[in-house]
Symmetry: C2
């Protein structure tokens, strides 16, 4: 893996000058095409041993190309804000949009490798982190991100020589910190951890490219040429055709029973009992979210349901129990232009709350496996992989201490018709009902099938679905708030 | 995830009879089409809780379809032979060929789940095993295997009821073992482990399908319908078009230096010094492979190199040092029909040695990234993913205690021409030289590029490449045997 990188390479000054001029011209040209087409984002990871010219290379890329369309983000120890979110949050936040180049200086691999070298992370924990990285990178690749991973390598002797040279020169000796010297002492341990890491995280979609870093000119041309070749290949490539049919179909059950039809949608609850029960549930939730340990957890409440199932009404009663400074409602509609330039889950990641906060998603990431699936807005290939990606996402939320509560509000076809008609007849409700709502009703069975598969694939121990019988709004509101109160109280006991 | 499976489902006897008849007809028909087209193999995994009718279902599949083309393999505790190989070996061995259906009763998930429930496997180790499974299943899917994973589920109450019913009836009470009762006591622990397992190993390519198992007739029709639908969808699907261009190109280095060109191909070694050195190296290897701890390790020696680089001669000198009963040479040529009906690595897995044995591969799995790449026999998409798959394969070999030694024998273009001509002029060597060998020479640079990328991507700490300067055959033979002796001696010290 490192054999080629440890060879002695040399490029003469004259050769360098000539090729550099040509490279700059060509790189600028592909960067322009990238920005004009806006088909995919480019994410360059810069990693490797200390003293191998990583920052010099990043400077050079900025010099060679138009720096306005390159965003460099350095990741060191997580800030307090970053530490208040799941580990991958800070990387999601910094992803470049389509048409742009993002450079991550140190990325998701830095902390696991460092912790492993220092021995604070065991072999098993390291394997788990590698698994997370593989899933993330796979998802990014599936979303069209061009992921280019450079690993700057020096042999031990080469590194020693470079550090010595830097130290000797008064103009550069500041570049060598005590930290670098410590890392140098751990060179062998570092390589012992990195070597299997590179092996296991080099995939067909996102291989590591080891950069021979000992010779400055060679290193610069190596990266420049590779970057140019990779960008050109991707720009010239035809749009990939997604795999035709999914490998495994959803089962067609031999009877009509499913998790939705098994519900008794009309639940009795008198107005009087409702008032008492609602008050009691809101009180519990209010106390729980003011508990001193609540500052350690966050709450994510997801609302999905049939049109006119009463999501808005339930969310309003929920909000009534909360400190208005400590919660936020995120209504999910069509993605913005900025959101469309990012991987699908990006627009939800940006709203992930920090501990002590609650976020309500009024519709959510489940749109992909509901409306986008049924209406054909997402290719089958894409919504099928979404189940696993959503589970990964929620695992990260739950793993970071979030309560993830998901509510499906279910009403009958008859009850929906009654509510639609009522909306049409009530002036202040007319804006809520459109021709599209009536059209969606025609696909009732397809939606039901999508809901059942969604529950099947994404109702998990860490993020369960609560199916809410919603023909009687009074019942459904109480059930939602009670369930959430139960879940928060449970989390406070942990 | 289990919500739907825990609902009460019922199918009347009459409905069952009617649908069963239709299902059988349809399943037989798709099974016939599967066998005629021979485009892909089908692998069905049967897993889930005890007492959920797994064996009944497998019986039924055999009854419904033509059992001659269904191969059922049950995996329990590994046998001695299985334990003498890497963990995945027994599964590879049992893979169905294209056009056939394989049923794995218990598979790669059984042991990790069991060990995790019993607490002998930690969370980290479990994550590592999940990672292995994901990689394996991804590879199988990429190779075209239709992987259908059924998870038979019962709620705790349903399981209790079934076990009670079985115990009560004298005709079935034998079905409930003490082991089943123990497992029943661990129901909650089991579900706690399985639930995240199912979540993390459900991917777009190979999701788990949870089978509601409480009602016999429902369960049978559920599986039958799902299987039929999945087989039909895949049979009807057009051949998937592979992704057009790989995401990340290989770097074009800015100078002519590479790991091959950096070698001094002609190394001096006199005939006299050769005799002494060869004898000494063979002696070391002989002693090492007769050491008492040698019974704990296996050795896999891979030979690749330019045409006429002297692989055969080196292998002969190597064999001379070994006990002929304890080593085997596997010459790798075009795959057999049986091998062509399997995933690419299958034909190499079958030759993986047990401890105390040595296998020489005369050419190897690297054909995919060498000749198949250069000659265009493998799509770019396929040879690009091969690097990661090969690294996974070798990781399993090394992880099981194998010494994996890989030799690239390099000669210069001039030296090759000299040897080709000599072969043509020497009657007993004429069979070794064909028009194809001369044609291959024309692609010298393309091969060199492929070799450099191969070394870059697959020379790892656990399975390094040794580049052998082979213009002087005497030198190369000694280097090969010395290196292997070093590696075996090193392994004996572990």
């Amino acid at each position: 893996m490192f054999e080629a990188a440890e060879l002695d390479h040399q490029v003469t000054k004259a050769d360098y000058k000539r090729e550099e001029a040509e490279l700059r011209r060509a790189l600028l040209e592909v960067q322009r095409a990238l920005g004009e087409q806006r088909r995919f984002p480019v994410l360059i990871l810069i990693a490797g041993v200390e003293g191998a010219g990583k920052s010099e290379t990043v400077h050079l890329l900025n010099e060679w190309m138009d720096p306005r369309f390159i965003e460099v983000t350095g990741f060191a120890m997580p800030t307090e804000e970053e530490a208040a979110h799941p580990p991958m949050w800070r990387f999601w936040k910094a992803l470049p949009p389509k048409g742009r180049i993002g450079v991550f200086f140190g990325a998701w691999q830095t902390m696991p490798i460092l912790e492993r070298v220092l021995g604070t992370l065991g072999a098993g924990g390291f394997a788990g982190r590698i698994d997370e990285i593989l899933r993330l990178e796979r998802m990014l690749a599936a979303e069209g991100v061009l992921l280019i991973k450079y690993w700057f390598h020096l042999s031990k002797a080469q590194q020693k020589k470079r550090i010595k040279a830097l130290e000797k020169d008064k103009g550069t000796s500041w570049k060598v910190s005590r930290y670098d010297r410590t890392l140098f002492e751990h060179y062998d341990d570092f390589i012992e951890v990195c070597e299997p890491f590179l092996r296991e995280t080099s995939t067909g979609d996102a291989p590591w490219t080891v950069v021979p870093a000992a010779d400055d000119r060679y290193r610069a041309l190596f990266v420049g040429r590779h970057l140019l070749g990779t960008l050109r290949a991707r720009l010239d490539a035809p749009k990939p055709t997604p795999a035709a049919t999914p490998a495994v179909a959803a089962p067609a059950p031999p009877d009509k029973v499913n998790v939705i039809r098994a519900l008794t949608l009309k639940q009795e609850l008198s107005r009087e009992d409702y008032e008492t029960a609602l008050m009691e549930a809101q009180g519990r939730l209010a106390r729980a979210t003011r508990h001193k340990r609540y500052g350690k957890i966050s709450v994510i409440a997801v609302f999905e349901g049939n049109d006119a199932a009463g999501k808005g009404g339930a969310i309003r009663r929920l909000g009534a129990a909360l400190d208005p400074r400590a919660y936020r409602i995120v209504p999910v509609a069509a993605p913005s232009e900025e959101e469309r330039a990012q991987p699908y889950l990006w627009r939800f990641w940006r709203h992930v709350p920090r501990p002590g906060r609650l976020v309500v998603f009024d519709r959510s990431w489940y749109g992909r496996v509901l409306v986008e699936r049924v209406e054909g807005f997402a290719a089958e290939h894409d919504w099928r992989r979404a189940y696993a990606e959503i589970n990964d996402f929620e695992e990260q939320l739950a793993g970071h201490g979030a309560v993830v509560a998901k509510f499906w509000l279910a009403i009958s076809k008859d009850e929906q018709q009654r509510r639609f008609k009522e909306r049409e007849a009530t002036p202040f409700k007319q804006h809520k009902i459109t021709a599209e709502d009536w059209r969606n009703r025609e696909k009732w069975d397809a939606y039901e099938e999508a809901v059942c598969e969604m529950v099947e694939r994404t109702s998990t121990g860490i993020a369960p679905w609560t199916l809410v019988e919603a023909d009687n709004k009074l019942h459904s509101r109480v059930k939602v708030i009670r369930t959430l109160a139960d879940m928060v109280e449970e989390a406070l006991k942990r």
